[in-house]
């Protein structure tokens, strides 16, 4: 792990103990300039994590609690006639925000969801024919309540596909929870989190990630993995080409975080479950879970290491 990134993780860990994995992944998503979908029960520290991360990296953070009556204009802003008679743009929640925490995104109406998702993809909002670019970097951490809770609906597959990774934080273990309880005794630990990474430096890093070396062998591996997912017997909808693109991006970020400037097959394998878990729809009759299917794919598709050495043809 690069020392700069290691520092960020340590800062965030001051607030959330025992969640190093999740923190690193979100940081990787930030490096890869993608968005995160957290699939979790309430109260495990999603908001805390987002706020701590934004503090450690020196970003502005905003939180939107989605309910069925949140409107698109609340997010993207709206135009309003002011007393002098001119039409003024009033920015919404998205403008000026680097890190947006969208709580319970699956409780919002479809209109609101699509407004948010368009902003995520295009990194801009359009109001009354005018386009306003969003801040850079722009990271959305959306949380999703388990389906079945009142007032929720499935996030459509097409929208789920736009998130770079889906994560589950899960409950902390005994030691982590004890540490958390103890840390709250002397005031809010959030105050102790300091900015260790400048925003400009983060943007530079994002650029570096984009220019990393990715050999054909790795692209070949990504392609074979995604294509194998489409023909797997338990899968009805496999990994989309966008999924393959995201896999590439996330693998780059992973390699960059490791301090390398080239991507290896192990990087792809490491990020594969996170990137692809929400892109695979299983057949109804299948008895495997998504995780099992993904492990199956990793096992059955030839690793690029072997191919590089044995010069196998595709």
């Amino acid at each position: 792990m690069r020392p700069e990134l290691e520092q960020v993780v340590q800062e965030v860990e001051k607030v959330i103990a025992g969640k190093r994995e999740g923190i690193v992944r979100i940081l990787l998503a930030l490096l890869a300039d993608g968005h995160v979908l957290l699939d979790d029960v309430p109260g495990v520290g999603k908001t805390t994590l987002a706020v701590a991360l934004s503090r450690a990296v020196g970003l502005s953070c905003r939180r939107v609690q989605f309910t069925p009556d949140v409107l698109p204009s609340d997010l993207v802003g709206f135009s309003m006639v002011d007393p002098s008679g001119t039409l003024n743009y009033r920015p919404g929640a998205l403008s000026g925000t680097h890190l947006l925490l969208g709580d319970e995104i699956n409780r919002a109406s479809s209109r609101t969801q699509s407004a948010l998702l368009e902003a995520m993809e295009e990194r801009q909002v359009s109001v009354d024919g005018k386009t306003y670019p969003l801040e850079k970097p722009f990271l959305v951490i959306a949380t999703q309540n388990s389906v079945g809770t009142s007032g929720t609906q499935f996030l459509p597959y097409a929208q789920m596909d736009r998130f770079l990774i889906r994560l589950t934080l899960g409950y902390p273990d005994y030691a982590a929870q004890m540490a958390m309880l103890r840390s709250r005794q002397g005031g809010n630990p959030m105050d102790r989190v300091v900015c260790v990474l400048k925003r400009e430096r983060l943007l530079d890093m994002q650029k570096d990630v984009q220019t990393l070396t990715v050999k054909d062998a790795i692209l070949d591996y990504i392609t074979r993995l995604t294509m194998a997912s489409r023909t797997h017997e338990a899968v009805s909808v496999g990994i989309s080409p966008r999924g393959a693109l995201f896999l590439d991006r996330m693998a780059r970020a992973k390699a960059y975080a490791e301090g390398r400037d080239f991507v290896t097959g192990a990087d792809v394998q490491a990020v594969f479950p996170d990137v692809c878990a929400h892109r695979v729809l299983l057949k109804e009759e299948s008895r495997q879970s998504v995780e099992e299917v993904l492990q199956d794919l990793l096992r059955s598709v030839d690793v690029p290491d072997r191919r590089a050495v044995w010069k196998l043809k595709a």
């Binding site: 394998q269 690029p304 590089a308 196998l312």
Partner: protein, 503 residues
């Protein structure tokens, strides 16, 4: 190249000789096949070429952990000499015999360091001179065969052939169509020519050391003996084949090789002396067979003659004169039938001779080549492995490191100790489980070198190559120390040279 030319010349010679002495279809086919034999690339490649000792010596340091020498495979040991490396000591045997024994390895005296130095061998003058020397007899060979076109020598050769036929007829129940030659023709020119050709062939054999030529001569010898049913006395036979076969083997000879050699000689001798009937029969037995055949035929004849229809006898009484004439005609016809029947039975259908020749030829080739097959395969593997090892020292460090890793992972795969379909950096656990912790650690320390070679554009350093090579040696030593001779053989045979997928 020269060896190839000389080999082809020898076959050409054989072809010319056969053309002049036989006009039988079977022999023509032998001729054709014998001409085709050197064209089979694998036979030619494995027999004709023999890598020069210089080349294998230069590659020795690299191959020292890769190709286990034969002695070690079969546990050839000697008493411990001061200076033998400790890891060469055969502890098990030493404990048994209460004295230190060390495995005998040909490169014991070479220092273990600097396995990467590959001195380019200076072109050997004497080898080139040898090549030039081979050229002359190789050219002489077809020229001397062309002497057969001279009428006097040709006549004499035919007389020689006739005498061979006579010898064959004396010892077997064969019949030959002799060449029309005046009885006072001298055999001397043909014998001299034969001696000349033999001399030239031996000269080429000595100068070039071509194994194919030796095999070819052995084959001609066997075919000659089987075809004419003339066999040499057994000791001479064995000696001859021993000599020829000895020639075909790679030197220096080892115990196992000699065993194989003996087997080979035995096979050929048995094939010639026992399996093919008529070749080693005494005159009495042969003539008894002919007598049996004739008696069976005459039995059939009398049966045919005595079988006369009853109606015919009556008519014979009635018309005495005409009847006797008619019966005479009938008898003549029957006799004619009998003669043809006899001829058909004595002279076999034409295709049996052909078939016999083909089978014979195949048998001889198989008997000559089969015993060498394991050696040839091993040799090919070894040569390929040496080729692959050349890449280890190549200028292109990236390729070198990839080749080294191919060798490492291939060896692990052959022994079933690899990490399967996982990236190499994830092999550590499995290696620690199946091999040793220390090795697993070294392996994962070395993986970044591989990753850099495979996935990045960074230049590699000489140190990294050395690191990979060290891992390779460690792998080989570890695997060898843990395997019995069968696994060693597998390791050696595998030699990590799969062209396609290892699975």
């Amino acid at each position: 190249m020269i060896r190839r030319i000389s080999g082809l010349c020898a076959w050409l010679l054989l072809a010319i000789c056969l053309y002049f002495f036989e006009n039988n279809t079977g022999t023509r086919i032998v001729l054709l096949l014998s001409l085709l034999l050197p064209l089979i690339p694998s036979v030619r490649a494995s027999l004709l070429r023999r890598d020069s000792p210089e080349a294998s010596e230069t590659l020795q340091p690299l191959s020292r952990t890769l190709s286990v020498p034969w002695e070690e495979l079969f546990g050839d040991v000697r008493t411990y000499q001061p200076g033998d490396p400790v890891n060469r000591i055969h502890w098990k045997l030493s404990a048994k015999r209460h004295e230190l024994l060390s495995r005998q390895v040909s490169f014991d005296d070479q220092p273990a360091s600097a396995p990467c130095d590959l001195p380019v061998p200076a072109p050997d003058r004497s080898a080139q001179r040898k090549k030039r020397a081979v050229r002359l007899p190789a050219l002489l060979l077809p020229i001397s065969a062309c002497l057969l076109f001279l009428p006097s020598i040709r006549m004499s050769a035919m007389a020689l052939a006739n005498s061979v036929f006579e010898m064959s007829e004396q010892s077997n129940a064969y019949l030959y169509e002799h060449f029309p030659v005046s009885p006072d023709t001298s055999l001397l020119p043909a014998l001299l020519l034969l001696l000349l050709i033999l001399g030239i062939l031996l000269g080429i054999l000595l100068l070039s050391g071509s194994r194919l030529l030796a095999l070819g001569m052995a084959a001609v010898c066997v075919i000659f003996q089987v075809y004419f049913g003339l066999s040499l006395p057994s000791p001479l036979q064995v000696a001859l084949f021993l000599l020829l076969v000895l020639w075909c083997l790679a030197r220096p000879l080892e115990k196992r090789v000699l065993l194989h050699l003996a087997l080979c000689v035995l096979t050929v001798s048995l094939l010639v002396c026992l399996v093919f009937p008529g070749t080693d029969l005494s005159v009495e037995t042969a003539s008894e067979r002919v007598r049996d055949l004739l008696s069976r035929l005459t039995g059939a004849q009398t049966a045919l003659l005595s079988e006369t229809p009853a109606g015919e006898t009556e008519t014979r009484h009635l018309h005495g004169r005409t009847l006797t004439e008619g019966s005479q005609e009938a008898q003549a016809e029957r006799e004619f039938q009998l003669v043809t029947l006899q001829e058909v039975q004595i002279s076999q259908p034409p295709w049996t001779g052909l078939l016999r020749t083909v089978l014979l030829l195949l048998g001889v080739i198989a008997a000559l080549i089969l015993p060498f097959l394991p050696f040839m395969l091993m040799e090919m593997r070894r040569r390929k492995a040496l080729e692959a090892q050349k890449v280890f020292a190549s200028e292109n460090l990236r390729e070198a490191v990839l080749a080294i890793f191919q060798n490492i992972t291939g060896a692990l795969h052959v022994m079933g100790l690899d990490g399967g379909n996982l990236p190499y950096c994830a092999w550590e656990n499995q290696l620690a489980e199946k091999l040793t912790d220390g090795y697993a650690r070294h392996f994962s320390e070395c993986v970044p070198v591989f990753e850099q070679a495979a996935y990045s554009d960074h230049p590699l350093s000489e140190n990294q190559r050395q690191q990979a090579l060290d891992l390779l040696y460690e792998t080989r030593q570890l695997l060898e120390s843990r395997s019995d001779w069968r696994q060693k053989l597998r390791l050696r045979y595998g030699e990590c040279l799969w062209v396609a997928s290892p699975s």
